[in-house]
């Protein structure tokens, strides 16, 4: 069953996979982002229109843009902005037994 634009959760196997290519990513109780391909960039490289936050936070800030791709087909599954030391946020944790 689809649990996200690019993720399926199989209630039988409790496995999360990419619904574009079928690649198995992880088990349902794991953080899928830890098992995606992660690219890290400074904020000013998100897109034109984004400036470096250094003018406001100082040059020594450690805020970064993390993108998480399917390791197989490279679709952009998710992203997050975080301080470098902050853990990768587990933003989705679904109980497989409640998925029909």
């Amino acid at each position: 069953m689809e649990i996200h634009e690019y993720l399926d959760l199989d209630p039988e196997t409790a496995a999360i996979s990419c619904n574009r290519c079928g690649h198995h990513i992880c088990d349902a109780d794991e953080n899928y982002k830890e098992h995606c391909a992660m690219e890290t960039k400074p904020l000013e490289e998100i897109a034109p229109g984004f400036e470096s936050p250094s003018a406001l936070l100082g040059a020594d800030h450690d805020v970064e843009f993390r993108q998480f791709y399917c390791p197989s087909c490279a679709v952009l599954v998710e992203h997050e902005i975080a301080r470098a030391a902050d853990p990768i946020l587990q933003d989705i944790e679904i109980d497989p037994s409640s998925v029909s």
Binding site: M1, E2, I3, H4, E5, Y6, C26, E30, K33, E34, H35, C36, A37, M38, E39, L43, I46, A47, P48, G49, F50, E51, P53, A55, L56, L57, G58, H61, V63, Q67, Y69, P71, C73, A74, V75, L76, V77, E78, H79, E80, I81, A82, R83, D86, I88, L89, Q90, D91, I92, E93, I94, D95, S97, S98, V99, S100
Partner: protein
């Protein structure tokens, strides 16, 4: 309701409420001298139900129009920064107007607190009106002033009508009463717990003067005062007419059916959503003016059966001026849940709230304890919470094929209101909040459509921005331009809404004091689902510019960068004195996209480029679309686009690591 006797009635623990924020218990402790009207008809024919349902909604709308028409203050008239509410006899929100949504769920807290703590002394009587702006009882910040009026029928309290209207200034260290540099609440306007401003139909002139005396502009606040009294009077009279026409039990029966129907719709939706937990995290940029640190805030949403539980675990301690009280966090939830999940239930907050639990940690900056500074809560804290709640609710809906299409990927990335004060073009004192701040791209993309460019915010569906000419007429400012901002809408298969620039200089005055209270300037708050965030707010000033020389040459600069001046980016919490040749520009935030930008239809990218909403650079680098031609003749190079997108996908993986394999 509890069956307390007069001897055992104590109400809530008011000093705990004043410190940590009022959280109503399931059983309210109301003095037995007050009788609530609970008689309701069980069998109401469907036609009567529909007629009454819409009539009650219309009464609430008329309440809002009364505020707008009577006040004449710019905040009320141009921005419609208010909302009217009808609650049940016990405070449950039945109808809320289509204006600022976060005012209405808060009305419930005010009503319940009054029931618990004013039912004995001074008592709740027909013709009374209470006034309150206490954020530890129910307000996002002190300028949001509630007028709360009981409606009686045959000596029984039938229901309540409430309005909330943002006041331009009711005191504190900064004109406008946003105090981004405040150390604590004693630098701000005073929180007023509910006081009986109208007693049995008689206005308490002593209390009116006490209230207006707090403001730098008592005449303007006085306009709103009259409008707020008029609003509750109109709504109360209309409700009495309806009760007279249909009888009280029928009207009450419809009110409770509306609540029950809303609850039922909400519960049915929850049945189609899997159980789970969704988490959001973002960062507050600066706790107060002059602070360049960042502070983490988090929201978790756990759905289990027919209950949603919101928590704020991991949020840093309240400090500086960035804080929001419990009531703000609570109403931030409903500001998202109502438009995303209750749009087919007339946004009846009370129905959904029966299935929502809130377990926040007191002493955090999204559940601030007294005496934390909270006057920016209605601009900073509430926006922060709404962005995070949107994040978790959108992800929850994304897990349900049934309701996925209802999600909005995010709201605007950041916000900021500029309070302005000084001497106007006629030599008089002036003060206002520049309401262009509402012109942002606050409606993000959905799984099947783009966001809305400069669409405002979904939690304020009727809030417009004033015409530039209105602002120029009323205040000593001259606009250079307003325009939509290229590359401000977050990239995605569906693009987020674009923000706008507004740019002005002082006109026929020597200076303007600008106080900016905002959030998200350094780090976007809102996160799309896969889609990129939109560009955040960017306040800038070009100091000592050559704008007057350009005007003398009959040139109107179209970009701040075109001016010859000292360019400075301002933090979102700033105080500034704008001299006659200082030109301010604010870029309002865009909102996030939905889905992978490499999956966007190339023709739509080309159209965005033709419209000036996406640059050629972004089309190539972010969307992977190769274009030919220029201006309105831009066309897609299809084969080159396919090749370029394949190359970008390869580059993605080449530049990545898999964290679980690295750890």
């Amino acid at each position: 309701m509890s069956n307390e006797t007069a001897e055992t009635h104590t109400g809530s623990d008011i000093w705990a409420d004043f410190r940590e924020g009022y959280v109503p218990r399931d059983e309210l402790d109301i003095h037995p001298s007050l009788t609530l009207h609970t008689d309701q008809a069980e069998e109401i024919d469907p036609i009567t139900h529909e007629v009454l349902r819409h009539r009650l909604y219309s009464i609430n709308e008329e309440h809002g129009q009364t505020l707008e028409n009577v006040s004449g203050s710019p905040v009320a008239y141009y921005a419609q920064d208010f909302n009217p509410t009808i609650t049940a006899e016990d405070g449950e929100v039945i109808f809320q107007g289509p204006y600022i949504q976060f005012f209405s769920p808060i009305a419930e807290l005010q009503v319940k607190w009054i029931l618990e703590n004013r039912s004995e002394n001074p008592g709740i009587e027909p013709g009374d009106v209470f006034l309150s702006n206490d954020p530890w009882i129910g307000a996002t910040h002190q300028p949001d002033v509630h007028f709360i009026a009981p409606v009686f029928h045959d000596d029984e309290l039938f229901c309540w009508v409430v309005n909330t209207l943002h006041q331009y200034d009711i005191g504190g260290i900064n004109p406008g009463s946003f105090c981004p540099g405040a150390e604590d609440v004693f630098h701000e306007s005073s929180p007023m717990p509910p006081i009986k401003i109208v007693e049995g139909g008689e206005l308490r002139e002593d209390l009116r003067q006490l209230y207006l005396r707090q403001s730098r502009l008592p005449q303007m606040v006085g306009l709103d005062f009259n409008a707020q009294i008029a609003g509750v009077n109109v709504a109360r009279n209309r409700l009495r007419e309806v009760i007279e026409e249909y009888d009280a039990a029928t009207v009450k029966g419809v009110m409770h059916q509306v609540l029950d129907d809303a609850e039922s719709k909400f519960a049915q939706k929850l049945e189609k959503i899997p159980d789970g937990t969704w988490r959001a995290r973002s960062y507050m940029d600066g706790a107060k003016t002059g602070d360049s640190d960042i502070y983490v805030g988090e929201v978790q949403l756990t759905k289990e059966g027919d209950t949603l539980t919101f928590t704020n675990e991991g949020t840093e301690a309240n400090q500086g001026a960035m804080n929001l009280t419990y009531s703000g966090f609570r109403t931030g939830i409903m500001s998202v849940v109502n438009p995303l999940m209750m749009y087919d239930a007339m946004w009846v907050a009370g129905g959904a709230l029966r299935h929502i639990e809130i377990e926040t940690e007191p002493g955090t900056f999204t559940h601030a304890t007294w005496p934390a500074a909270v006057s920016t809560g209605g601009q900073i804290g509430i926006e922060f919470v709404i962005a995070l709640v949107n994040d978790v609710v959108a992800r929850m809906l994304a897990s349900s094929p049934e309701y996925k299409r209802d999600l909005i990927s995010g709201t605007h990335e950041s916000s900021g209101a500029v309070a302005q004060a000084g001497i106007d073009q006629w030599g008089n004192e002036f003060g206002t909040m520049n309401l262009d701040c509402m012109g942002l791209g606050g409606v993000g993309a959905s799984p099947h459509k783009d966001g809305i460019d400069t669409g405002g915010v979904y939690w304020a569906p009727k809030a417009p921005i004033p015409n530039m000419e209105y602002n120029e007429q009323d205040y000593p400012i001259l606009y250079l331009y307003r325009d939509e901002v290229e590359d401000s809408g977050g990239a995605g298969e569906y693009r987020g809404g674009a923000g706008m620039h507004y740019c002005w200089k002082p006109h026929k005055t020597s200076q303007i004091g600008n106080v900016l209270a905002g959030v998200g300037g350094a780090i976007p708050l809102s996160r799309g689902i896969s889609g990129y965030p939109g560009a955040p707010i960017r306040p800038r000033v070009s100091r000592d510019s050559d704008v007057d020389e350009r005007f003398a040459r009959r040139e109107i600069p179209a970009r701040l960068d075109d001016l010859d001046g000292d360019l400075e980016i301002l933090p979102t919490k700033s105080e500034d004195v704008q001299g006659p040749t200082d030109v301010w520009e604010v870029r309002t935030a865009g909102s996030p996209g939905y889905g992978d930008p490499l999956e966007r239809d190339p023709e739509r990218v080309a159209e965005d480029v033709r419209r000036g909403l996406v640059s050629r650079e972004a089309a190539t680098d972010v969307y992977g679309v190769e274009l030919a031609g220029a201006g309105t003749d831009v066309t897609v190079r299809e084969l080159a686009t396919e090749e370029h997108r394949a190359e970008l996908r390869e580059r993605r993986l080449a530049n990545s690591v898999i964290p679980a394999e690295v750890a």
